[in-house]
């Protein structure tokens, strides 16, 4: 355990996460004061002071978002580095699976960034509207995000303190089953069916976004994340690696593959953000078109290695 904690990357990760957490505790403190005392149409000096307090909360959350994005990238880098001192791990995939907390931490980190972005969208609208229409809602929203951040930090500490440097972990070829095991795919789909579904869903999303069908877009957007995970890991990544048995969502983040993983996941993330914000917030209608653009970009980036491989080699893997 101490080997892991002493690794520079891990201790720095935890140190910066803790600092950001402390800052968010300050923001929470002010949020609670605001929630207890804010009265919407009052114009007293005290209400004005509460409005000014809210600026601190906004600044802290905006800054925390920037740092959390940097830390997410650094976290994936840390996982890769840890694979050097954990027996059996060849990349981050093995490290993540070293205990039950790993995947939960990673997913939670991504969810928190998404929610914070949605919070900032709400806040921006609140500030430019007259009379702060979403003032209290955004404060409650922040409290919810803060609870998730507390869970995330706890899980991260549990994850990092429970990785053994003695027990070997599995490598991605075992985790993601190098052998063509169709039980790994959802709904017992074959690869061909999965990819067809991937493209079909994309088209559906575009149509829903174009027609501004909020409920359908919201539902399918979340379902699409689930499908794309499998599509990327079990199909598209194999064309990045040019190896049918190499199925791993982490190796595509490495320099050997021109960091294409970052482009894939970032474009999907941004597309999802625009889709979610357009469906949740009535004032964010402009985001429907942005969602269309980013989903298209995502599909192109995913398809590019596959198409390139076919054009170059004339066969599929």
């Amino acid at each position: 355990m101490s080997d892991i904690l002493l690794s520079h990357e891990v201790s720095i990760n935890l140190f910066v996460e803790s600092l950001v957490f402390l800052l968010l505790v300050v923001a929470l403190f002010h949020t609670i004061i605001i929630l207890k005392n804010y009265q919407k149409n009052s114009t007293t000096e005290y209400q004005y002071k509460l409005e000014k307090r809210s600026y601190l909360v906004v600044t802290i959350i905006s800054f925390a978002l920037i740092v959390k994005i940097i830390l997410l990238v650094f976290f994936t880098y840390t996982l890769n580095e840890l694979s050097n001192i954990i027996p059996g791990a060849m990349c981050a995939a093995g490290v993540i699976k070293a205990n039950t907390y790993g995947e939960k931490v990673l997913i939670l980190k991504i969810i928190i960034i998404m929610l914070t972005l949605l919070w900032i969208t709400l806040n921006q609208q609140d500030q430019i509207s007259k009379n702060y229409p979403f003032f209290k809602q955004k404060m409650y929203f922040f409290v919810a995000i803060f609870i998730l951040i507390t869970v995330e930090l706890s899980l991260e500490i549990l994850f990092l303190t429970n990785i053994s440097t003695q027990t070997p972990v599995l490598c991605c070829s075992t985790i993601y089953k190098a052998v063509d095991d169709t039980r790994a795919l959802p709904f017992n789909l074959s690869i061909l069916q999965l990819i067809t579904l991937f493209y079909l869903l994309y088209l559906l999303l575009i149509i829903f976004a174009y027609l501004k069908k909020r409920v359908m877009l919201f539902t399918f957007c979340l379902f699409y994340i689930y499908i794309t995970y499998y599509a990327v890991v079990y199909f598209f990544s194999t064309y990045v690696y040019e190896l049918p048995t190499h199925k791993c969502p982490f190796c595509i983040l490495q320099s050997d593959y021109y960091y294409i993983g970052y482009f894939i996941f970032t474009s999907l993330f941004i597309a999802t953000f625009y889709a979610l914000s357009a469906t949740i917030y009535k004032f964010a209608n402009k985001n429907f078109n942005k969602a269309i653009i980013w989903y298209t970009l995502f599909v192109i980036i995913c398809s590019f290695p596959f198409i390139f491989y076919i054009l170059k080699n004339g066969v599929v893997l």
């Binding site: 002493l6 520079h8 990357e9 201790s11 000014k52 600026y55």
Partner: protein
């Protein structure tokens, strides 16, 4: 809003009121330079050691009895050759020789000149080495640290070794190892393996240890098992273990430094917080002017954060450049000794020039981000100053 006018104004304010930030800037540069130097030195040493370890054997076998390392029987070599998957087994002779005049130890390494690989390596280390000439009499090649000590005691052409059998062995100095390899070779003496055996007093039929090469790493665990059950008075050192050991050692040493750094950083952040919490008249006036002409609180907050970010980031850049010069050009006086430990011989080491982007990223995370965190609350306090009091 992030347009050229805004950026111009930002830099204008910074340059005009630079006196406000100068002390913090200087302290920041020192802190960044210190932590970056440590990271640079650590990475450079690690890289050098990793490169050296590349050529390390996959397995090293030593005879181990009652907690002591003894000379290993040469008969084990034939036994190990029988194990499938092993491509090469070789006995090595090396050991420490006590150099009385300076009361220091040298490392004597015996080389088997019948081994082509070894000869090739030696030829890359010493230009124009004539093997026949080297073997024509008792010759040795010495590290630069050894040469320095021998010169001091006027042993310019040869040195008389005193093996355990009380004889005197005169060995001539053929050449010196290149300075670049000082990190491992400074206190090393290379000679023919039989000569080394005589000087170190290793009995016939024994070697210091046995190295084993295993070309296919997937077979390593099985081979390790077979080796383990072959003898019970044996210690196996695997290359991966050494790599992991060094990585953990560096993490430990680095960890100690990081703890010290954290203490320094937290103190600095508290000073920063205090310093920027003091609202001077100039600050109040500045905010009042900006608010009265229509700047939003948000805009002022981000202006102030940007100002501080530029101070922090410039300090980061200057600190990194200073560290680079200190470590790779001036060769890190003082800090070098702390890292390498004051060994018997002076470590006349040059750090190989290379910048690890990870190290730069780590310094950014360890300095710039905490810096901004420390100033957010003071900046907010300033930005919400009511202009009315100042406007009277």
């Amino acid at each position: 809003m992030l347009n050229s006018k805004y950026i111009n104004f930002l830099f204008l304010l910074l340059i005009t009121y630079r006196k406000k930030h100068i002390s913090i800037f200087i302290i920041s540069v020192i802190i960044v330079a210190l932590v970056t130097s440590i990271l640079f030195i650590s990475s450079a040493i690690q890289k050098d050691i990793n490169t050296t370890l590349q050529s390390q054997a996959d397995f090293t076998i030593q005879r181990y009895k009652a907690g002591k390392v003894l000379n290993t029987p040469q008969s084990w070599i034939d036994e190990f050759l029988q194990i499938d998957g092993i491509s090469k087994v070789q006995g090595r002779i090396y050991g420490m020789h006590f150099y009385e005049p300076a009361e220091t130890y040298f490392m004597i390494v015996g080389i088997d000149f019948f081994d082509d690989n070894v000869v090739k390596t030696l030829q890359t280390l010493i230009d124009n080495i004539d093997i026949d000439k080297f073997l024509s009499r008792d010759n040795m090649i010495i590290g630069s640290g050894v040469k320095k000590f021998l010169d001091e005691y006027a042993y310019k052409d040869y040195y008389n070794f005193r093996p355990p059998d009380r004889s005197i062995k005169k060995v001539y100095i053929y050449g010196t190892l290149p300075k670049q390899s000082n990190i491992v070779s400074s206190d090393m003496i290379i000679m023919d393996i039989d000569l080394a055996r005589k000087i170190l007093g290793v009995e016939d039929g024994y070697v210091t240890d046995i190295i084993i090469e295993v070309p296919n790493p997937k077979e390593a665990p099985m081979i390790r098992t077979k080796l383990t059950i072959s003898h019970f008075d044996m210690r196996i050192i695997e290359k991966e273990d050494i790599k992991r050991y060094y990585k953990n050692l560096f993490n430990y040493k680095g960890g100690v430094f990081l703890i010290l750094y954290t203490i320094v950083l937290v103190t600095f952040l508290l000073i920063l917080y205090q310093r920027y919490s003091m609202i001077s008249n100039i600050d109040s006036k500045e905010i009042a002017i900006l608010r009265s002409v229509g700047w939003k609180i948000n805009s002022i907050i981000w202006l102030k954060i940007s100002e501080n970010f530029i101070v922090a980031f410039s300090a980061y850049l200057v600190g990194v450049i200073t560290a680079y010069i200190y470590v790779f050009i001036l060769n890190a006086p003082l800090l070098k000794e702390i890292f390498l430990g004051h060994n018997n011989l002076s470590q006349d080491i040059t750090f190989s020039q290379q910048i690890n982007t990870t190290d730069l990223g780590i310094v950014f995370l360890l300095f710039v981000i905490p810096f901004i965190i420390a100033i957010i609350i003071p900046v907010w306090h300033k930005s919400i100053i009511e202009p009315t009091e100042v406007m009277r």
